[in-house]
């Protein structure tokens, strides 16, 4: 698959990689290294954490990792299972990631720190709104959205919004019911997804959202 990088998007990718990672890591929870003193080893682990964030946290939260207490053999088996289920962790990164996870979340690691949240104190705790957005947001065009999606999103999220190795499924996901949040996440970027704010304006984000909603309705009929 040939990746298309218009110059503006390439710049946005660079900005996104620098800016998005720090802002998206939750303040109270982090992947903790195990008592390393050597700054170079710490830097090595920071890069591994970014690898994990890029290839694992696109599908699920970090708690799933942090609360495990597994042997190296168990970590290896879990990584292989995740890769078979779509995690695009490059083969040359496997041993580095297994090593980091075994050191940080092995049998001797301390009891996991857990978050306790109530009400809406969690980004993902969204219920369907009373009134979902209309199938076509006023003033938007799902046809324009189809073209914008193909050029800006499909390489990572799949031609039908079904997800692929680089990005998760979008069709049928609850974020489609929250236009403001959809625009914010795409504008600011998230993990490996670059910020679109230098490339797409709000109306174009709405066009893409309208197309994704139409795509979802097509799926529902199938």
């Amino acid at each position: 698959m040939r990746l298309i990088f218009p110059p503006m998007l390439a710049l946005a990718v660079l900005v996104g990689l620098i800016g998005a990672e720090k802002s998206r890591l939750p303040a109270t929870v982090h992947l903790n290294a195990s008592g390393l003193q050597n700054p170079e080893e710490q830097r090595h682990d920071e890069i591994t954490k970014q690898t994990i964030s890029a290839y694992c946290l696109s599908c699920h939260g970090e708690e799933m990792i942090e609360q495990q207490r597994l042997t190296p053999a168990q970590w290896k088996a879990e990584i292989e299972k995740m890769v078979s289920w779509g995690a695009a962790l490059p083969a040359d990164q496997h041993s580095r990631v297994i090593d980091y996870l075994s050191r940080s979340f092995g049998l001797d690691a301390p009891r996991p720190l857990v978050r306790i949240v109530d009400g809406d104190g969690l980004e993902g705790l969204r219920l369907s709104p009373e009134k979902p957005p209309p199938h076509l947001l006023p003033g938007t065009s799902a046809e324009r959205g189809a073209d914008l999606y193909t050029r800006n999103c499909a390489n990572c999220h799949g031609s039908r919004g079904e997800g692929n190795e680089l990005g998760p499924r979008l069709a049928n996901q609850p974020i489609l019911l929250h236009p403001a949040e959809f625009v914010e996440v795409t504008s600011r970027g998230r993990r490996r997804m670059p910020a679109s704010s230098g490339v797409l304006n709000v109306e174009q984000c709405h066009d893409i959202l309208s197309w994704l909603i139409r795509q979802t309705l097509t799926e529902l009929q199938g």
Binding site: H60, E62, S84, W85, G86, P112, D118, H135, R169, L176
Partner: protein, 393 residues
Amino acid sequence: MTLEPPSQCSDRRQFLKGSVAVASTVFLTKGRASESAEQPAAPESAARIVRNSRPLDLETPVKYFDEFLTPIPAFFVRSHFGEPAVGLAPWTLTVESPAGVIQRIRLAQLDALERFEFPAVLQCAGNGRALFRPRIPGLAWEKGAVGNASWSGVRLADVIMRFGGVLDGVKHVHFYGLDRPPSPKTPAYLRSIPIERALDTSTLLATHMNGVPLPVLHGGPLRVVLPGWTGNHWIKWVRRIVLSPVEAPGFYQQTGYKMPRSPLTPEQSPPPDALQPVTWQNVKSLIALPHHDSRVKLGPIAIQGVAWTGPGLVERIEVSCDGTTWQPAQWLGEARAGTWRLWRADWTPPRAGMYSIRSRATDTNGQTQPDATPWNKSGYLWNGVDHVTFEVV
């Protein structure tokens, strides 16, 4: 096969026919006043433990198990792939045979069927996984991937009879929800149950939970309710029901959610025919009070909790406050198949210090909680004796 219509008696219905005779239970219909139909004074919010932020997997702290019905804001949340975008189009449910769709139903069409409401315990098959040793990969649930709610809806048997056509040769019923995996390479979640369980009068397609429309997080607008069986069967966001001579294909039915017929050690790799699907829950109790790691004043202490089982009824509940002897605790409320029973014991510690108390339930099939559940590689059905440690000051 011949279908027997669900038996209809005035207000009493046999709740859960299994291979074991169960005491007949009061079958609640909507609006009937009773201890267990009372809705709890719902807190506006409740603190839950994050086991996964995406998709949301939230565990209930055991302190909320001091009431018969678990309030919705405190109720545990679990799914493999998170909720779908519910509400973009009117909900449809298809009933299908292997030959194709028989009926496509709108929710309003279910109003033509009689509604039933009763309490039932929903427990994740992996609740307690983090308590097994040696350690097992998977969501690190401790005690609170469980809750008791009052479920209201229509009988699956009535839906199948009304919309399902001829049932000759049908041995299994498949359930598919609207949720989808994040990647096309990840297997979709689904469930397949034997036709006998599908037609049991306690098997519901539920639209309401604790008196309110089923929240999306808990499978709204429609989910399967299968009292006594583990939560993996209680499919959320049900869209398709398929009547079939065979089990559903796919990882989550063919490989996932299986346990060895007899306990194995971690080193053993069982052949496929040594495995069977997880179905019934097992006997279990949890201590809601006093809270683990708490401090209480020297004086009389109320020990409280819940107990339930899979097939049968919980019969005996005991507590141990000295690490050696067991005393009976008192039941609060009647035994009812598929739901839990509150219990209480009063105890006065002899002096200040650290104490550990334990609870142990026994059911009418003679099953008792072990100290530690036999290990299984997926960490299912932990039902070891519960214990809490606290300081008396």
